[in-house]
């Protein structure tokens, strides 16, 4: 993992990209002027930051609720060590699963594997889970549907 110290130019670009890109013909023009450079240099740096993994993705971020994905569920699983890679492989392949993590367990919480499922209906979420269950035999799981969204923002990391 690269964890080099970024220079001020790179930090300015990352700060800028965490906000909403101006909806203009030349969205980088103002930034270039502010940073005393030209747009080509900015584009070149964005590409570099992308290639180095500092920028994970770049594009429109949609509100899943507004595109018809109304049933949102965090399904947590207790997956035995030897089955983790198999379950992960299957979970990654599912369109409805946006995020998939392994997390530490605690005394009161034995679920180590997390899948965030977004479906057009609750049934679609149930189907995703049923399929994983059938293919992996992991039957210790819990589906935690979202009852309310208190906060959902694009995290803005201060650099």
């Amino acid at each position: 993992m690269k964890n080099k110290i970024l220079n001020d130019f790179q930090k300015e670009i990352l700060r800028f990209l965490q906000k909403d890109l101006p909806l203009e013909m030349s969205p980088y023009a103002a930034l270039a002027e502010k940073l005393n450079t030209d747009e080509t240099a900015i584009i070149r740096e964005i590409k570099r930051l992308k290639a180095q993994g500092y920028i994970r993705r770049f594009g429109a971020i949609l509100n899943h609720r507004k595109v018809g994905l109304n049933a949102n569920c965090m399904c947590v699983w207790n997956v035995p060590e030897q089955k983790i890679s198999k379950v992960a492989k299957l979970a990654i392949g599912k369109n409805q699963i946006s995020h998939c993590y392994l997390r530490k367990i605690s005394k009161k919480w034995s679920y180590n594997f997390y899948t965030m499922i977004h479906g057009r209906s609750k049934q679609e979420c149930f189907d995703v889970v049923a399929d994983l269950l059938a293919k992996t035999g992991v039957d210790d799981y819990k589906m935690l549907f979202t009852k309310k969204q208190f906060k959902k923002t694009s995290p803005e990391y201060r650099l």
Binding site: S26, I46, R56, I61, L62, K104, K152, L159
Partner: protein, 148 residues
């Protein structure tokens, strides 16, 4: 949403060009004028379909530590506790879920100390019964792109 709009959203979320004039390039692809395209994107934003256009950074690589936190909160106190959590700039997601642990949020900060300070304040809030801190061990997929 009609097929044309779907196609536009797909390009915007998955194939956004990194060029000086990205909207010109997209407009050309879709055989729209740049003005028409900008109008369409504006409307997506107004309707709340597009949250924003921009980059998502790799927080870990930038030195941020993130955890998922589960809180067991007494029913009567949920609103207040959730408000306290959402007020923090370090919290990006905060949900009410159907479980004994009913409030779930993500917390990121530069230092463990910031996290611990926040969590000890949270534990003292009225109605908070228990707090689970669930750090990530491995990430298999992070993909906020949706299949339309």
């Amino acid at each position: 949403m009609n097929p044309k709009e779907k196609k536009l959203l797909k390009i915007l979320q998955s194939e956004f060009p990194v060029t000086i004039n990205p909207y010109r390039e997209i407009a050309r692809k879709l055989k729209l004028s740049e003005d028409e395209l900008i109008k369409k994107i504006k409307s997506f934003k107004l309707r709340g379909i597009i949250r924003r256009v921009g980059g998502s950074v790799n927080a870990k690589q930038l030195g941020f530590k993130s955890v998922l936190v589960a809180v067991q909160v007494r029913e009567d106190n949920v609103t207040k506790v959730a408000e306290f959590i959402s007020d923090s700039d370090n919290v990006s997601h905060n949900y009410l879920r159907k479980d004994e642990y009913n409030v779930w949020f993500t917390f990121s900060a530069r230092t463990i100390k910031q996290m611990n300070d926040f969590l000890s304040k949270l534990k003292r809030k009225r109605g908070v019964v228990d707090v689970l801190v669930l750090p990530q061990k491995k990430e298999f997929k992070i993909n906020a792109e949706f299949v339309l």
